[in-house]
Every structure is written in structure tokens, then in C-alpha cells.
């Protein structure tokens, strides 16, 4: 049975009702959202339901939308069903003040480091993660650099600190 985006959408709506929302399809990938409380349920359903079979976590990353008050941080999961060759994007959002999201690392071993990376860059606090600490940045860092509140400096500025630019 060929799996298509509509089937997935219908299946999810049938199972979770209005808890899954904002279905859309961009460049052939179905994306949808849900509240962060049921992210594990949805991921597990997608994993275990034989007609869906999204057993491969391709990617997990965070996005920061500073303008969406109350849902500034978004965790995006890209899932893949190998045998049906179909991808799926699923995201949950969380407030920047209350960043707890359930970890997917019990379901996918691969989520372990990707969640650490997301924590490192966005400060998403994955609950139940076995080893949630910074991975790419130094442990002493006290902010989350990929949030939009920390902009890169202006490229064209001319008052570059020479010492920082290898001129010192």
C-alpha cells in the first residue's frame, strides 16, 4: 500500500483528533504540529503503528521564533519511512520561559546528541534525557547562542576589534 501524505494526515487526525493541527505540505513533505505534551505519544504512534512505520529519525533541530509569544522555541522532527520512502515533519513549540519538552531519546538512540545540540543552542530542556549537557559549545557558556536575541555582529562594520580578527 502506497503511503501518501493524505493517508498519514487522516490517520493522525483519526487517532489524535484536534490535538494535531496545522497540517501543510511543502516541497512534498507533510508537516504538522501538536502541543508539546503529547510529542512522545505521537512519535511513538508514528513509530509503532504498522501502517505508518516512521522508524527513522532523520533530523531533530530547534528553531527560534522570537515573535511568537508563548511559542518561541520550536523543536522540529524529521521522520522517515524507508520502506514507503516518505518523509514527515513534525514540530512542537514551547515557550522560551518554560522550555521543557519530553525527550525522544528513549525511542531513537540517534535523538540523544541531536537533543543535546538543540539544548546547547536553544536551551530546550529535554525531560528524561540521559545526559543533557552542552555538546558543541563549552560547558561554561550561560546562554543559548542560536536564539535570535543574540544577533551576529554587523558584517560591514569597520570598528572590528583587531585582536579578535587575527590582527593583534
Amino acid at each position: 500500500m502506497a503511503l501518501s501524505n493524505e493517508i498519514i494526515q487522516n490517520n493522525l487526525i483519526e487517532k489524535f483528533g484536534d490535538q494535531v493541527l496545522n497540517f501543510s505540505t511543502e516541497s512534498g513533505i507533510l508537516s504538522f504540529e501538536s502541543s508539546k505534551e503529547i510529542n512522545l505519544k505521537i512519535l511513538q504512534y508514528l513509530y509503532e503503528e504498522p501502517s505508518l512505520g516512521f522508524t527513522f529519525l532523520t533530523d531533530l533541530c530547534g528553531v527560534n521564533y522570537p515573535d511568537n509569544i508563548g511559542a518561541e522555541l520550536v523543536v522540529v522532527y524529521h521522520l522517515h519511512n524507508f520502506s514507503e520512502n516518505i518523509r514527515l515533519r513534525y514540530s512542537v513549540s514551547t515557550s522560551v520561559n518554560e522550555t521543557a519538552v519530553f525527550t525522544a531519546s528513549k525511542l531513537f538512540e540517534s535523538a540523544n546528541w541531536m537533543e543535546r545540540e538543540t539544548y546547547d543552542f536553544f536551551g530546550v530542556n529535554f525531560i528524561g534525557h540521559p545526559n543533557l549537557k552542552r555538546i558543541l559549545n563549552v560547558d561554561e557558556m550561560d546562554y543559548f547562542p542560536l536564539r535570535k536575541e543574540y544577533p551576529l555582529e554587523d558584517q560591514t562594520r569597520i570598528d572590528k576589534d583587531d585582536e579578535m580578527f587575527g590582527r593583534g
Binding site: S27, T55, F56, L57, D59, N85, E109, W113, M114, L136
Partner: protein, 408 residues
């Protein structure tokens, strides 16, 4: 010599029966900057903790301030053994996002470059497996042919390692005849050398014993750990982005996907080896297809997309309209459409994905690289637990961990 030390040892460290070894950050086996803190009991590895991040360069943050064309040099530095694939992957992502259609010839040229890059990547990995088992010579034999590949890059883009090859919509210039001559030379000579390299290792009992049954992983675990690319195929899953979701007209080519069974180092070696032969066959097909283009078609090297592809230099010097487009593209003043895309190519190490989110500005709102290395390096502990230290070293190199890709 007496010297004062006030270091208090952690509790139980005197009594512990294992030795802590730091394989890395600089160790001959790591081939890059990352660390493994290994607990070994004699020669057996009890556990290991991998540390990455030593060369983290904040690419994702940098990309948020760069117009699309300036992100290409950033992708160079992900997997620097096969940077053209990264470049092409990024261009393909942009083209898919901007919904540009590319002429077939550009696709085929890209396939040639990407497969060359794949060969150079696999070749390094396999010969490094040889080096790490103690045989250095094979490495230098094949390295001469990586040089040929690099010369082809140089002929096309002017650089060898960090290529910055291609542009959104095509290539920056057409392939010269010299490039094609070098390609022909490569295609003629390389299979022989590869055969020789294979003879040097593949059926040598010492090598087989070193690699067989070490660093193995089952298909289920590999999938759970997010393996992709040759490492996943070595475990027996024939997942290849080129077949599953063809990009750049890969569907036009006839090639096989080599798969192993146990996912051990030997399988990884063999899969990479077989893939190099497949890549050669793909390049041959693509080269043949390119030669079939006639007339004006045979000169096409970019799509006709003035919004994204720079006008010719002569036009810039003389024509006002071209100059305006030139300025607009270089200054990055073209607004991107709103939306998001995930697009993947088959990199040297596996599925190299780009997740691009745009809010309609001139630069990506968020760009995430799915670096295959980063994801499968997590499994390292499981791969080597209970094995010997020497196995760990061979596993490390046969996984083809590239520090640039580990730390975006």
C-alpha cells in the same frame, strides 16, 4: 625531584581496575579534533565517552546572516573530504526551495563532480583504514588519484580542497577541455589502481582478521542510531538517497547499491570499495550523456535564472541591466520566498540534509545541517564495547568521522 601536588583524586580512582585513556583530541587515530575518553581493562575497551565540539564554528548562526551564495563556502567545511557534494547539496536545496529548473547537462555535470567527490571521500576512508591497521603504502597509491580528482576540481572552480564549486543554478563556468581530458585520464587509470588497492587488502588474512567481526552493528540498531550512507548499507539496509529520492537526475543512471550483512569494519570497507566502482560507472555514463549534447545545448552550464545566477562579466562591464542584477545578487537584496524545506543528498558519509527555514527575508531564518557523522558517532561506544583497543582505532577510521562534519 619533589614537587607539591594538591590534587585530590576522585573517589574510587585508586581502587579502580581500569585505565583511562584519552584517544584524542590530538591522537594519530582520530584524524581530526575530537576526543574519546576510553576506559580500558588491559586491552579491552570497557566504555568510552565521546566528546565533540573542539572545532565548532557556529555555521548555523553564520548562515543566518549570509545570503544564499555566501553559505556555499561554509558547506565546504563540513565534510572537507568531499566538499563538492556539500556544495551541490546546498545548491540543490536552494534550487528546490526557489523552484528553479535546471538543464539536464548541468545535472550531469553535477553528477560527475559529486561522484568524483564520493570517490575521493571513500578512497580516503578506505586507505585510512589501511593506515590504521598498519599498512601505509596503499594510502599513498590511491592518494595519487585523489590528486587527479583535485586537479579536475581545480580546473572547474580554481580550488582543490575547499572547493566552493558551482553556483545556485549551475556552475560558475563551463568545464574546459582540459577538465574532460583529466577526467578521461582518471577514468582510464583509476579502476586499475583501485583493483590493486583491493588486492593489497581485501583478501589479506591479517587485514581480514583485523576488520572482520569488529565494530559490527545490526541493521535495527544502526537504524535506531540514525546511521545512513555506507555505514548503514554495510549493516544491510540498502538505503541510498540517490535511489530513494533522486536528485540531480540520478534516476537516469544505472547503478547498484552495494550492501553488507553484519555492519562490521570489513563490510564497511567492502561497501565503500564497491561504491567506488559504482561511482566510476556513474561517471562514465554521465560523461557519455554529456557528449551526446549537441550544438548550443552542449555549452549550457547554468540555468537561465537572472534573479539568482550572476550575469556574465562582459555584460556587467557594459550593460546597465546586468550591472543592476549583479549588484542585487551580490548585495543579497533578493527576498527569499517564505517557507521551509528539508532536502537531502547522499554525502560521502550518508544523508547530508539541509533544513532551511525562511521568513521571507534575504537570508535564511534558520538553517540546520543534518551532518551524518554527528549522528552516527553516538553509536561508537556500542560499536567498540568489549573489543580491543586496536579494534576501536580501526572502527574509528572505518566510520569515516570527519571533524568538520561533527562540529558544524
Amino acid at each position: 625531584m619533589e614537587h607539591q601536588t594538591n590534587i585530590t583524586l576522585p573517589k574510587g580512582s585508586i581502587e579502580k581496575t581500569t585505565t583511562t585513556l584519552n584517544i584524542g583530541p590530538t591522537h594519530p587515530a582520530t584524524h581530526g579534533v575530537f576526543q574519546n575518553i576510553m576506559e580500558v581493562d588491559g586491552e579491552r575497551v570497557v566504555s568510552t565517552e565521546q566528546t565533540v565540539g573542539y572545532i565548532h564554528r557556529a555555521f548555523e548562526k553564520l548562515a543566518e546572516r549570509r545570503p544564499l551564495y555566501q553559505i556555499t563556502p561554509i558547506t565546504d567545511r563540513l565534510n572537507y573530504c568531499s566538499s563538492p557534494i556539500n556544495n551541490m547539496g546546498w545548491h540543490i536545496t536552494c534550487e528546490r526551495f526557489l523552484k528553479l529548473d535546471l538543464p539536464k547537462r548541468v545535472d550531469y555535470l553535477r553528477v560527475i563532480i559529486m561522484e568524483l567527490a564520493r570517490i575521493s571521500d571513500h578512497l580516503i576512508c578506505n586507505s585510512i583504514v589501511g593506515v590504521d591497521t598498519g599498512a601505509y603504502t596503499g594510502f599513498l597509491y590511491v592518494m595519487q588519484y585523489r590528486e587527479l580528482i583535485y586537479e579536475i576540481y581545480e580546473e572547474v572552480c580554481g580550488s582543490r580542497l575547499t572547493t566552493n564549486i558551482g553556483r545556485i543554478g549551475g556552475f560558475e563556468r563551463n568545464f574546459t577541455n582540459t577538465a574532460f581530458t583529466k577526467l578521461e585520464k582518471f577514468l582510464n587509470e583509476y579502476p586499475k589502481v583501485l583493483k590493486e588497492f583491493e588486492n593489497l587488502f581485501a583478501r589479506n588474512r591479517i587485514f581480514m582478521e583485523r576488520t572482520k567481526g569488529t565494530g559490527g552493528i545490526s541493521a535495527e540498531r544502526a537504524l535506531n542510531y540514525g546511521f545512513t550512507g555506507p555505514n548503514l548499507r554495510a549493516a544491510g539496509v540498502d538505503y541510498d538517497v540517490r535511489v530513494q529520492q533522486p536528485y540531480s537526475s540520478y534516476q537516469d543512471f544505472d547503478f547498484k547499491v552495494p550492501v553488507g550483512t553484519t555492519g562490521d569494519n570489513y563490510d564497511r570497507f567492502l561497501v565503500r570499495n564497491a561504491e567506488m566502482y559504482e561511482s566510476i560507472s556513474i561517471i562514465k555514463q554521465a560523461y557519455q550523456k554529456i557528449q551526446e549534447f549537441k550544438g548550443a545545448e552542449a555549452e549550457v552550464y547554468h540555468a537561465d535564472v537572472p534573479e539568482y545566477y550572476l550575469p556574465k562579466k562582459e555584460d556587467v562591464y557594459t550593460k546597465m541591466e546586468a550591472l543592476i542584477w549583479h549588484f542585487k545578487i551580490i548585495m543579497g537584496e533578493i527576498d527569499l520566498p517564505k517557507g521551509q524545506i528539508y532536502s537531502a543528498v547522499e554525502g560521502g558519509n550518508g544523508e547530508l540534509g539541509f533544513y532551511l527555514v525562511s521568513d521571507g527575508g534575504r537570508t535564511p531564518f534558520r538553517l540546520h545541517f543534518r551532518r551524518p557523522c554527528f549522528i552516527y558517532y553516538q553509536a561508537f561506544e556500542e560499536l567498540i564495547k568489549g573489543g580491543m583497543l586496536s579494534d576501536a582505532v580501526v572502527t574509528l577510521s572505518s566510520l569515516n568521522l570527519i571533524a568538520g562534519e561533527l562540529d558544524a
